[in-house]
Subunit: 400 residues, 2 copies
């Protein structure tokens, strides 16, 4: 290309507002560091799908190599119906849309509901990539705090009342992760779940229930998902095989009112999700392989969590940690006023990558949190990584 000609153009000026957001992917990492920053799968637990892939590519060749049905393979939609039934969610196939993971499902829901300037309710903090997706739709956030029972529904109600009283634009959507919340690890109580659904009905918004970690439970009794408590079609549940099987399969789903689901399908700019991956997932869900995998990952992740908790106690005792009973993440609070972003930068110099909690807040939030993922590296490397993070923190304190 001629640099000269480039100079006459002013293309950058013409980007849409959402394209001003340029960051890095949470799945790209600098070489040689211990990755404690993102919820990647633990490599020794990745499922062997050679047999399933071979079957998909031979017996099902005319399905696997062709465009797929818009809503997903009927067999997969049925398998998903059966899977969520175990959680008390009673639905039919018309309530299921197959997507490229829960993130894609979230984006489709945003496309169906959001105009720029619309309002959306999120927990403060919340899942960083979800916030990025929602931001790309030009939303205004209504951030609600959490305590040990999950999103504070009293605070939410007060805000909704105030907005209504002021005649302001009411929120259309709420996004939350009731089980093993990312990043905080909190599980929402039954009472809060019920209250949330009442509020959705009263104030006419849709709850997007992001549900990737539910089956990766270390302790405690399961509480019904919001979708199982939904008597009014106000909950759209976002699921994924990333944690119960493998992220590389890049498949998930949305479950909800058939009219909403159909509209979400129409926003898919594709010729159906990869049918070969769908066929592989059908086979894994229909065999005992998936449950075996869930049990294996859960047992392994419990050890990882313990390793990280122990290492924090030993090498970074200044951090306050909330112990998660499941999932992949741990939320670490450094002493008030700490600059976690600077600690994370120093961490890279010490060979460990962590995420600053700042990215988890919809608007300006506290600066002293780290979001830790214990999923990807071995317990030994977790220990070493936190030791190195402790060294980075010590260096930070000595410089601050």
């Amino acid at each position: 290309m001629s640099a000269n000609t480039m100079g006459t153009l002013d293309l950058g000026q013409r980007y849409a507002r959402r394209a001003e957001i340029i960051g890095k992917s949470i799945y790209d990492h600098p070489p040689g560091v211990t990755v404690l920053s993102s919820g990647l799968a633990y490599p020794p637990c990745l499922p062997d799908v050679v047999r399933e892939a071979s079957v998909a590519a031979s017996d099902f060749i005319s399905e696997s190599m062709q465009y797929g049905p818009l809503m997903g393979l009927p067999d997969l939609r049925e398998a998903i119906v059966d899977f969520v039934k175990e959680d008390g969610v009673e639905i039919g196939v018309d309530n299921v849309l197959v997507t490229y993971g829960a993130k894609n499902a979230l984006d489709l829901a945003c496309r169906v509901y959001l105009e720029p300037g619309d309002r959306m309710i999120v927990a403060n903090p919340s899942y960083m990539t979800a916030l990025q997706i929602m931001r790309s739709h030009g939303v205004n956030f209504l951030g609600i705090s959490q305590d040990d029972e999950g999103m504070n529904t009293d605070e939410l109600e007060e805000n909704l009342k105030r907005l209504r009283a002021n005649g302001e634009r009411m929120p259309k959507l709420l996004f939350d992760i009731p089980d093993f919340h990312n990043p905080t690890g909190i599980t929402m109580s039954l009472a809060r779940r019920q209250r949330l659904i009442e509020l959705a009905k009263e104030y006419n918004f849709i709850i997007l229930e992001d549900d990737p970690y539910r089956r990766i439970r270390f302790e405690g009794e399961a509480i019904p998902p919001l979708k199982a408590l939904d008597d009014a079609g106000v909950v759209v549940s976002l699921g994924t095989v990333s944690k119960i099987l493998a992220p590389g399969l890049r498949l998930g789903w949305a479950i909800g009112d058939a009219g909403i689901i159909r509209r979400m399908a129409m926003q898919k700019a594709d010729g159906g999700c990869n049918p070969m991956a769908q066929r592989i997932v059908v086979d894994l869900m229909r065999s005992n392989k998936m449950q075996y995998h869930i049990d294996e990952v859960t047992a392994e992740m419990r050890v990882h969590r313990d390793a990280m908790m122990d290492a924090f106690a030993k090498y970074l005792p200044d951090a306050k940690i909330r112990r998660p009973n499941g999932g992949y993440f741990l939320w670490a609070e450094l002493p008030e006023g700490s600059d976690a972003e600077r600690v994370a930068e120093l961490g890279i110099e010490h060979g460990v990558e962590v995420s600053t909690g700042r990215l988890c807040f919809a608007e300006a939030g506290p600066t002293n949190f780290l979001r830790m993922a214990y999923s990807f590296v071995s317990p030994e490397l977790i220990t070493e990584g936190i030791k190195n993070l402790g060294a980075a923190y010590t260096q930070y304190k000595s410089q601050a």
Copy 2:
């Protein structure tokens, strides 16, 4: 769900404008009909990828089952660089983004550039699904007619001059399919291609060059793609493996200025495209299998095209047909004033599905066109399908 409670909600009223578009997928078909409506792959030509899938799931398990890099596998991006080099497109890996097919790439480009109310240039007629994707971004279309040389650049220039003179919002993007246009089958001349790039530079818009059919050429000499003529970074080329390998792999790419490509990547609401499918495509592109497949599909599609041309001459001679020199589609003009939608409806009753050309016009267009796809069914079924379409047309005429 309680129907009673549902009645108190008014959720439908809150959908975004784009969600008012509810149609059917062009890849879903009524059972038992001969499908001449959409560009599905010909089943006997689908590639055998059993070996590649097994290798991807075993030797590459830690890549295939994990989240993929945001931009795509480096090996695949390199293979794409080499692939387009054969067309004279000289780029580096930073200019390549792996996507879920060309449709996904188009959507990402729209996300980077378009705000609701922005203007976009399209050929009249154009690819129906692309129009649907662009519409979901709330664009206003500037439709430009085509002749045997492709998009009428004089008409485009007149329109651009008029808009500029009137101080109106200038188009940000142009979408076209220069090789074996869908639906018209027209290939744009070299002079028009050069003029189009000059206009993009002069009027500061980006050309989205949709390029799925280029290698499926029956006759004639190849003309360089717009991207090969682009000396200013004004062309973003959208590619796919759907026609050169298999639609079920659901992979494609965008090629363009590195800054645009990076912004498109940031709009991907996913953890990278399916890495197993990417690994399979790398293997196929790096072996002789892809070229074998292209040669096989091209030879087969030539026979299909001829079968459809012959059948039209025999069974529906009232239709004017433009003979395509490549690609999957044929554009059939019924006598002026004909209601092609009604003919298509009667076609279903006669066991054949065709697409009305109406869907290919950005705004209200002529009603007397059919978009025919000869890709999916055998030459014998094409003949029978057109015979049945002829019967449907005869019935239409007798009723009209």
